[in-house]
Amino acid sequence: MQLTLNHYLFVGGLIFAIGFAGVMLRRNILIIFMCLELMLNAANLTLVAFSRFNLTADGLPNYNAQVLVFFIITVAAAEVAVGLAIIVALFRVRQTTHVDDISSLKF
């Protein structure tokens, strides 16, 4: 079976949906965080797929998309560093990673 762009987009969409569902439904902040990463990587996957299947006039992949992927990876790495630090700090203060327990902004 020939793998087409649609297959990749389908897998990408699926991962994104799993990630989104995780973010919406799970209550553990670490899991939510991992699900966010899933959503980012779903976007990466679709970008690479578009790059691979939309060749330029001289038969090369469209590198713009791949550059964008690197940006996302970098940003994601930075986000993980900051995010995990916040979570650790939060845990030290509150002894919990459950989002329902973190609602002090609410009046």
């Binding site: 919406m24 939510i32 973190i102 609602s103 009046f107």
Partner: protein, 599 residues
């Protein structure tokens, strides 16, 4: 280069070299530094004598210092009748004061520093005298301010001395600021700061009378500060905290005369403006009268002489204001001789009486300090304007000129003759006659020859300086002689002398008390209140501004606005992270819809 172009430069440079040598290397070598300083000023005096009899020249070999389009500042010297006379006065009195200081400062550990500063002062003063342009004059003008500061504050461990030095410097700065603005105004129109150029292009200035008047009055501000005219006169009496030779040299004979000299130098600027002349003459007349009034009630011998100096400087400024700069310079010359003499005489007394300055602690000194007494008498008669002594000639010239101009300038001037005779006779009688009023006065005696000789030399000039010199200063502009002026002047002199003689003869202590005069018209107090008041007002205003505007409105306002907004927005929070994420996601979808699907 012939000798007449080199010598003026040497006159200027030699005291500077002496000052540098002493201050940098010779502070530990007392004898050597003293000799160098005295040698430098003696050389300057001898060279000045040679220059005096040499030819005039406006700029012996000029150096270019700043040469830009529109601004050319040369370093050049002027040798004319004005600067020649001033050269002789400055170096002549300077030499005598140096010699005198050898004795006066004998027991002072800081005397090398003192002599270094004296040399520095001589250098700066000669710079003013020789300058051929405003910029150079201004620089030296500030330098004499610095050296005066250093010398007044020579005994810097005394609080009063350092306060007086600060006061002198700061008060002068006020005047100098105006001076600088005036120079800039003249330069902005003429495009040159060189006196000769300005004189050549005077028509550029005279077409704007108001501009010229403003510029002249601003330049006059410099003279008001330096020559201690009202209302900036307050520094001079306080400057008497310095050693007495300094008072004689700087605060009687030379530096305070710099203002008069400067005005005489730029008299071509003053002549076209009658308004400026009137202001200058008024300030001169007011200073002359009020300073004399203050002098009548002082008890410190140096302070009496200081107020007398103020009053005499008032005469000179008055003369400049009635378009008689020649008479002003003439009086400057005679005044330099007799006032330096009076100060040095007072210094001799103070020195012999172990730094006692109150006149009521002296008395009976005419037997004990015979030489000083006779020299002082010559100075006393010259200052009071006794006919035949130098002071009377120059004072009369000023009074003639004032009489020709207006009665309003003449009357204060002539009444001051009475006051001068009065306060000087009071001092003279109290110090030299009657009984000795303290132990120190019982043991006073003449100083060593190095102290007495300068007194006698100056006494000679105090008596004879008026003979044959008038024409040199006045030239062909000699004012008309009025008999009435002469009669009034002599009459007032006799009245003042006699009045004081009968009032104070045999008195043991002051029995007249006029608090207004004794407290110098409360001008110091008014200034203190004014400055303190302004400062307090400023402080209260800024404190209020800081507390309510900066702190209250801006800092606290920002923080409470943020807090308030946060408080309101808090009600929107549901406390569920996923709800936020969902809303955020919906928001993103909405944005994408807006951006992509609507135009």
């Amino acid at each position: 280069m012939d000798i007449y172009t080199t010598l003026p430069w040497l006159i200027l440079i030699v005291p500077l070299i002496s000052a540098i040598l002493i201050q940098l290397f010779l502070r530990k070598f007392r004898q050597l530094s003293l000799s160098i300083s005295v040698g430098a000023v003696a050389f300057a005096f001898l060279a000045s004598l040679v220059v005096f009899f040499g030819p005039d020249s406006t700029s012996p070999s000029e150096f270019s210092w700043i040469d830009l389009p529109g601004l050319r500042i040369p370093i050049g010297l002027t040798i004319d009748y004005l600067s020649k006379a001033m050269l002789l006065i400055v170096t002549g009195v300077g030499t005598l004061v140096h010699i005198y200081s050898l004795v006066y400062m004998k027991d002072d550990d800081g005397s090398p520093r003192f002599f270094g500063n004296l040399s520095f002062f001589i250098f700066s003063m000669l710079g003013i005298v020789l300058a051929n342009n405003f910029a150079m004059m201004f620089i030296f003008w500030e330098l004499v301010g610095v050296s005066s500061y250093l010398l007044v504050g020579h005994w810097h461990t005394r609080d009063t001395a350092s306060a007086a030095a600060n006061k002198a410097f700061l008060t002068n700065r006020i005047g100098d600021f105006g001076f600088m603005l005036g120079i800039l105004m003249v330069w902005s129109v003429v495009g040159s700061v060189v006196f000769a150029d300005i004189q050549g292009k005077i028509s550029l200035l005279t077409v704007h009378p108001l501009f010229l008047t403003t510029a002249v009055l601003l330049i006059f501000c410099g003279a008001v500060g330096k020559s201690a005219q009202m209302p900036l006169h307050v520094w001079l009496p306080d400057a008497m905290e310095g050693p007495t030779p300094v008072s004689a040299l700087i605060h009687a004979a030379t530096m305070v005369a710099a203002g008069v000299y400067m005005l005489a130098r730029v008299s071509f600027l003053i002549e076209p403006s009658l308004t400026a002349q009137a202001v200058i003459a008024t300030i001169g007349a007011v200073t002359c009268l009020f300073a004399a009034l203050m002098a009548t009630q002082q008890d410190d011998i140096k302070r009496i002489l200081a107020y007398s100096t103020l009053s005499q400087l008032g005469y000179m400024i008055l003369a400049v204001g009635v378009a008689a700069p020649g008479a002003a310079m003439f009086h400057l010359f005679t005044h330099a001789c007799f006032k330096a003499l009076l100060f040095l005489g007072a210094g001799a007394i103070i020195h012999q009486l172990h730094h006692e300055q109150g006149i009521w602690k002296m008395g009976g000194l005419r037997h004990r300090m015979r030489w000083t007494f006779w020299a002082f008498t010559a100075g006393y008669l010259a200052l009071t304007g006794c006919p035949g002594f130098s002071g009377s000639f120059s004072k009369d010239e000023i009074l003639y000129a004032a009489y020709d101009r207006s009665l309003w300038f003449f009357l204060p001037g002539v009444f001051t003759v009475f006051l001068t005779a009065f306060y000087m006779t009071r001092l003279y009688v109290v110090v030299f006659f009657g009984k000795e009023r303290s132990d120190a006065a019982k043991h006073g005696h003449d100083g060593p020859p190095a102290m007495t000789a300068p007194l006698l030399i100056l006494a000679f000039f105090a008596v004879f300086a008026g003979y044959g010199t008038a024409h040199y200063f006045l030239g062909d502009h000699e004012p008309k002689h009025h008999l009435i002026v002469e009669i009034l002047a002599i009459g007032f002199f006799l009245c003042g002398t006699g009045f004081a003689w009968f009032l104070y003869r045999g008195r043991e202590k002051e029995f007249i008390s006029i608090p207004l005069f004794k407290n110098k018209f409360y001008i110091d107090e008014i200034y203190a209140a004014l400055i303190a008041g302004t400062q307090d007002l400023l402080a209260v205003t800024s404190a209020w501004f800081d507390k309510w505007i900066l702190d209250g409105l801006i800092v606290r306002g920002l923080s409470s606005a943020t807090w308030g907004a946060g408080f309101v927005l808090r009600f929107l929070q549901v406390g569920n992270l996923q709800a936020y994420a969902l809303l955020f996601g919906l928001g993103v979808i909405g944005l994408i819809y807006l951006v992509v699907f609507t135009k």
